[in-house]
């Protein structure tokens, strides 16, 4: 067994699936030349299971699962989606792979991969907490970092800063968030109570 290049990994992945059930995966390259694989949200669990169980691929380790908000990102075309990024590593073959899934901003729901890699449990809770993406099938989807009664998803680019929490003001007298509207201001739009 030897480490596979990105193209070989994709080729193997296409070969493993029967032609009728092949998910619509797309190969992409990021700005700094790193290749990655775009996977449709509904197929992520199927793809993840194959990546883990196939003896040639052998991605037993999910190194990280994170998310980022594409709003205000200079993408072409502009997007308002939230990208979920999966960093995989094969401890046997010493190769790695980056997957991405796009979740719509308002109704973003992605199937949970915590049944494939149990470590995804905490990662997905973090993304749920800070970016407000729901993971279908997650066993315990609740906030992990912010207090349970927190309002909004702080890492979203359009997050509205709260003026206070629990009766304690965030800002000292006369201070103001310069770029972001603060909840409680007349100009600030209403924000949903839950992420």
């Amino acid at each position: 067994m030897s480490a596979l290049a990105f193209a070989d990994i994709v080729e193997r992945l296409r070969a493993v699936f029967p032609a009728a059930t092949l998910p619509a995966i797309e190969t992409k390259t990021s700005d700094n030349g790193q290749p990655w694989l775009l996977v449709p949200a509904n197929d992520i669990v199927r793809v993840a299971t194959v990546l883990r169980d196939d003896p040639v691929l052998g991605f037993a380790a999910l190194c990280d699962l994170t998310g980022w908000d594409l709003l205000k990102y200079p993408a072409n075309p502009p997007s308002t989606d939230i990208a979920i990024v999966y960093y995989l590593h094969s401890l046997i073959h010493r190769h790695h792979l980056t997957l991405k899934v796009l979740a719509p901003r308002d109704t973003g729901t992605v199937p949970s991969v915590s049944s494939v890699w149990p470590v995804a449990n905490y990662f997905e809770r973090e993304v749920f907490d800070l970016l407000g993406v729901h993971f279908a099938g997650h066993p315990n989807l609740k906030r992990i970092m912010m207090p349970d009664d927190w309002i909004g998803s702080p890492l979203r680019k359009d997050y509205i800063y709260p003026a206070s929490y629990n009766g304690i003001a965030h800002l000292r007298d006369g201070q103001k968030f310069e770029d972001a509207p603060t909840r409680g201001d007349a100009a600030a739009p209403a924000q949903a109570a839950k992420p």
Binding site: I168, A169, L171, R172
Partner: protein, 195 residues
């Protein structure tokens, strides 16, 4: 046998008189057991202060692993809104009289997080009364020891049997003021105007 109660036989050299209050304050001053509690990088300096080079044990300061045996809480590090209620609970578990030292910029005012962070408390004095503030990011062990020496001057003035018409949580001569914890009964008002 020499009668030491007679003048010239050592009474003036071996016996001194004092008030009970001063005696108790002397004992408190020289046995400030502090809570082993650190939330961020100031804790490294706190550990160093307790280590052999600076050896804060020589001031009678022994680390305690439980708040129930502690006289002093050194808040060393960033306090988030989620952590703040835990800090308050720890403080409430300490036996009276109790003192709080706010160590470093984060505990004093939120420090580098005071302006742009949604999750960091702007000073631990919003939740617990603070006796001594030590500036620095983080303060060196010398600064912490200097703060402890200033606190000892304050402890020396504490009167166990003294006037009881004011908040016993607050050291006499203290000018600290803090808000009531949400969801908990407000503390009795002090007779002195709050700062």
């Amino acid at each position: 046998m020499t009668d030491i109660t007679k003048p010239g036989n050592g009474a003036d050299e071996h016996v001194f008189t004092t008030s009970i209050d001063e005696f108790l304050a002397w004992g408190k001053e020289n046995s400030l057991f502090y809570l082993l509690f650190a939330t961020a990088c100031c804790g490294i300096e706190l550990m160093q202060t307790g280590g052999p080079r600076y050896d804060i044990d020589r001031l009678g300061m022994i680390p305690r692993a439980t708040p129930r045996q502690s006289d002093l809480m050194i808040v060393a590090g960033t306090i988030t809104h989620k952590m703040a209620s835990r800090v308050r609970t720890l403080w409430e578990q300490m036996t009276e009289p109790r003192w709080v030292v706010s160590m470093g910029s984060c505990a004093n005012s939120g420090g580098p997080f005071s302006k742009w962070s949604y999750s960091v408390l702007n000073g631990v004095d919003k939740y617990v009364p603070v006796d001594i503030y030590i500036p620095g990011c983080p303060p060196r062990p010398e600064a912490l020891i200097d703060g402890v020496m200033a606190l000892r001057e304050r402890v020396k003035k504490y009167r166990t049997l003294g006037v009881r018409d004011r908040d016993p949580h607050i050291v006499q001569g203290s000018d600290c003021a803090f808000g009531a914890h949400p969801g908990k009964p407000p503390l009795p008002e002090t007779t002195e105007p709050s700062a």
